[in-house]
């Protein structure tokens, strides 16, 4: 490749919005694909043995989570004839309700072997009816070496090509040429409102923030952040969350909900914190340190407009990324499980934490940035605070960021049962049961009493919003008096 061509490519990379969007999609999808391959293509098959069934046990249930395309080899020995059913999750619900169910496989005899290839990703249960007090032993071999999540891979591959196509279009599209035309021009200036000034500053800030460097960083952070999704999808992770016990209960409908909670966990913790801290440090601190703010404030721009534009820039990036990640997470999820009903509730549990965490960490980083006037110092201190809040804030639960992991274990179980965000929010405000767990109120309720239990969630929201607003107002006050040099 000649130097001239390379130079052209680099210039396009820096200036063309189409190329930048294409690059982000390409990087994000590629990294995501690598992550998903890591988790879904790895042979995870294995052997298992059922607990021996002794006389007197009438029904035995064992459950498997099988992906589309994976195979289970089953073998059973009994001292007498038994009946065996293989059921999918739907039939398991019917079975647990005592209703009539339709087994996928029904076998009778004392030596039963079968091979079953899952045609859909689902939870399957084996029910053994032991009416004759037989002693039964069984074993299975789960061949999940072909557990390819094809739908996700197709989806991501399509996106990779979409990204590449966009980049190609951007590169091919000729650069607009500006020509000077002699002549007398008369221009009329108009009044520019504060709102317009803020919007112009926000737009240029967003364009500047979409530098190739930040695109790379964002793609890495978010693709890395997708990892928990895949790890949770693994059967072992579900076992850790108590899935098997739940099936045995057998509240089978909860299985779907737990998947939601696993996905909700993605929004958790430090990923979003690091991202917001990084963006705020670069956008606000970087401008102050490099002297760009001095230049901007030499135009007809009030300091508060500059400040508001920074807030808008960070929050718009936060919101856009939230939506992108939500879609990226949801679409493979939909392909994988073929359920649409949890879409709204999932989006709500995803977006609310992102936006609140975004505001919370923006305000903290902003305050430290105007205080220190050093983006690196402010960023590192904010990161330290993020770690403290995430892992050591349990005595001060209201300060702990509202993250997906926080919502996932308890809340999303409820959330997934709902179809409308409105109902979901109502539940958020009213229900106390989940609050009990995710606020760890069990530790504190003895100290603070039942009121805390009742108002825990709204209080947390109010406390964190108040902290954010106070920090932003303080930052504005400091900035108004600050020398911009």
């Amino acid at each position: 490749m000649s130097k001239k061509t390379l130079r052209k490519i680099l210039l396009k990379l820096m200036t063309s919005t189409t190329v930048k969007i294409g690059l982000f999609i390409f990087l994000f999808s590629t990294l995501n694909l690598i992550r998903s391959l890591q988790f879904t293509w790895k042979p995870v098959g294995g052997m298992g043995e059922g607990i021996p069934v002794f006389p007197g046990e009438k029904h035995v249930i064992d459950c498997f989570h099988l992906r589309w395309g994976s195979t289970i080899f089953f073998s059973l020995n009994s001292t007498g004839d038994i009946t065996l059913y293989l059921l999918d999750s739907e039939s398991l619900v019917l079975f647990s309700n005592g209703s009539e169910f339709k087994p996928i496989i029904k076998k009778q005899g004392s030596n039963i072997t079968f091979t079953f290839k899952a045609e859909k990703t689902d939870y399957y249960g084996i029910i053994i009816e032991n009416n004759e007090n037989n002693i039964i032993t069984y074993s299975y071999f789960l061949d999940s070496s072909k557990e390819y999540d094809y739908s996700t891979i197709y989806f991501l591959t399509t996106l990779i090509f979409t990204g590449l196509t966009l980049m190609l279009i951007g590169f091919i599209k000729p650069t607009k040429k500006y020509e000077f035309k002699e002549g007398h021009y008369s221009f009329k200036k108009r009044h520019v409102s504060g709102l317009r000034v803020t919007w112009e500053l926000t737009k240029i800030g967003l364009t500047s923030a979409s530098s190739p460097f930040l695109i790379f960083i964002c793609a890495f952070i978010f693709a890395g952040g997708m990892a928990p999704k895949y790890s949770h999808i693994q059967g072992e992770a579900f076992r850790e969350t108590g899935l098997v016990e739940l099936i045995r209960n057998p509240y089978v409908s909860w299985i779907d909900l737990l998947e939601t909670c696993a996905l909700g966990g993605f929004a958790s913790g430090l990923i979003i914190s690091i991202f917001i801290i990084l963006i705020t440090s670069v956008i606000v601190g970087g401008e102050l340190e490099r002297g760009v703010s001095k230049i901007l404030l030499s135009y007809p721009v009030d300091r508060r407009h500059w400040f508001l534009s920074k807030f808008l820039t960070v929050m718009l990036i936060n919101f856009t990324v939230t939506l992108i990640v939500a879609v990226f997470t949801f679409v493979p999820f939909y392909f994988y499980y073929h359920y649409f009903q949890i879409f709204y509730s999932y989006m709500v549990i995803f977006i609310i934490p992102f936006l609140i965490i975004g505001l919370y960490y923006f305000s903290i980083t902003l305050f430290l940035t105007v205080k220190f006037r050093d983006p690196i110092k402010a960023g590192l201190t904010s990161f330290l605070i993020a770690i403290l809040l995430e892992y050591f804030s349990w005595p001060l639960i209201f300060l702990r960021p509202i993250s997906g992991s926080w919502l996932s274990r308890d809340y999303s179980v409820w959330a997934a049962e709902l179809l409308a965000p409105k109902d979901l929010l109502e539940l958020l405000m009213e229900d106390n049961k989940f609050l009990y767990h995710f606020f760890r109120l069990d530790i504190l309720e003895d100290v603070f009493g039942p009121l805390l239990l009742l108002y825990g969630f709204p209080l947390t929201i109010i406390v964190q919003l108040t902290i954010s607003i106070v920090l932003i107002l303080l930052s504005i006050k400091i900035f108004e008096k600050m020398d911009v040099t």
Partner: protein, 312 residues
């Protein structure tokens, strides 16, 4: 200190310190229409004074008025009529030159289409039209300086602050810029405040100056007025026999000091005109050929040296 008739800028008792460093000491100045030179070495307080005038830095004491308004209370009203070129301009690096200028034009109230035409005009003015679609990151220091000039003039301002405007510009660019400044000052009645330590170029266009040194205004007025303080001029004499002539003129009453090397004599003299006449006479009488005489420093440089001599 008042310069001119109708002051556009009034500065009263301005002082500013950054920690222990005193940047400005009790500055009083009135600046009216025309081209005003703020002259001083690096670190003398020129940029700080401009930042105070723009409402970027708050003074410890005193107040300033631009167009009769307080820049800290009426920022936008003032800045709508002001263009600024800061020293060491920093831009958004990943924006193209034209996009940046369109953005600035819009802040000054031009509609999208007008902003684009205005941006093209400015790029043409500073010879950057070919680089219009390149990101600023790829610009050289000189190109960034030219873009800085373009953004300072794009809002059709009545008052323009130029902090070290000729820095990073090639000789051709410097001449073009100074010509443009003179043209705008005459035709559009734009007032320019030019802060610089590069004096020779400024002398050609400024109406009035203020000499600032260690945060203090030492002198202000027109170059003609201030020139009156000049007691000596340093002259460079190009001659065939430098040593011989140096010895001959050393004892002249106008000569304060003299130095020579090869074919040049550097003489610091009082009453330069009478010195010139006598010098030519002595040279003729002694058959010494003089090729030329020129001031070693411009008048402005000489004034500056005269005023700052012995100060720290």
């Amino acid at each position: 200190m008042e310069v001119g008739e109708k002051p556009i800028i009034t500065i009263k008792n301005i002082s500013k310190s950054f920690g222990d460093v005193v940047a400005l000491k009790n500055i009083n100045l009135k600046i009216s229409e025309g081209i005003f030179g703020l002259i001083g070495p690096n670190g003398s307080g020129k940029s700080t004074l401009i930042k105070i005038l723009l409402g970027l830095v708050k003074p410890d004491t005193g107040n300033v008025k631009i167009f009769g308004l307080d820049p800290f209370k009426n920022r936008r009203e003032i800045l709508k009529q002001v263009g600024v070129l800061h020293e060491n301009m920093t831009f958004y690096e990943y924006i193209t030159g034209i996009k940046y200028l369109i953005f600035v034009a819009k802040l000054y109230g031009f509609r999208r289409r007008d902003a684009e035409i205005k941006a093209i005009q400015m790029l043409k003015l500073v010879n950057l039209l070919d680089a219009a679609q390149r990101p600023i990151k790829t610009y050289s220091a000189g190109m960034k300086q030219r873009l800085g000039i373009a953004q300072a003039l794009i809002g059709e301002p009545k008052l323009v602050f130029l902090d070290e405007p000729t820095a990073n510009l090639d000789p051709e660019g410097r001449i073009e810029l100074l010509e443009k400044i003179g043209e705008m000052a005459n035709e559009q009645k734009t007032t320019f405040i030019i802060a610089t330590h590069i004096l020779p170029e400024l002398e050609k266009i400024v109406d009035n100056i203020a000499i600032i040194y260690n945060g203090e205004i030492l002198k202000t007025g027109s170059i003609q007025e201030i020139s009156k303080i000049l007691k000596t001029r340093t002259l460079k004499i190009y001659v065939r026999e430098a040593e011989k002539l140096a010895k001959l003129i050393k004892s002249m009453p106008q000569v304060e000091s003299i130095d020579f090397k090869h074919d040049q004599i550097i003489a610091k003299v009082t009453r330069p005109e009478s010195f010139h006449n006598q010098l030519m006479e002595i040279a003729r009488e002694n058959n010494v050929e003089i090729f030329g005489i020129e001031p070693l420093y411009t008048k402005l440089e000489q004034i500056f040296l005269e005023l700052t001599r012995g100060r720290k």
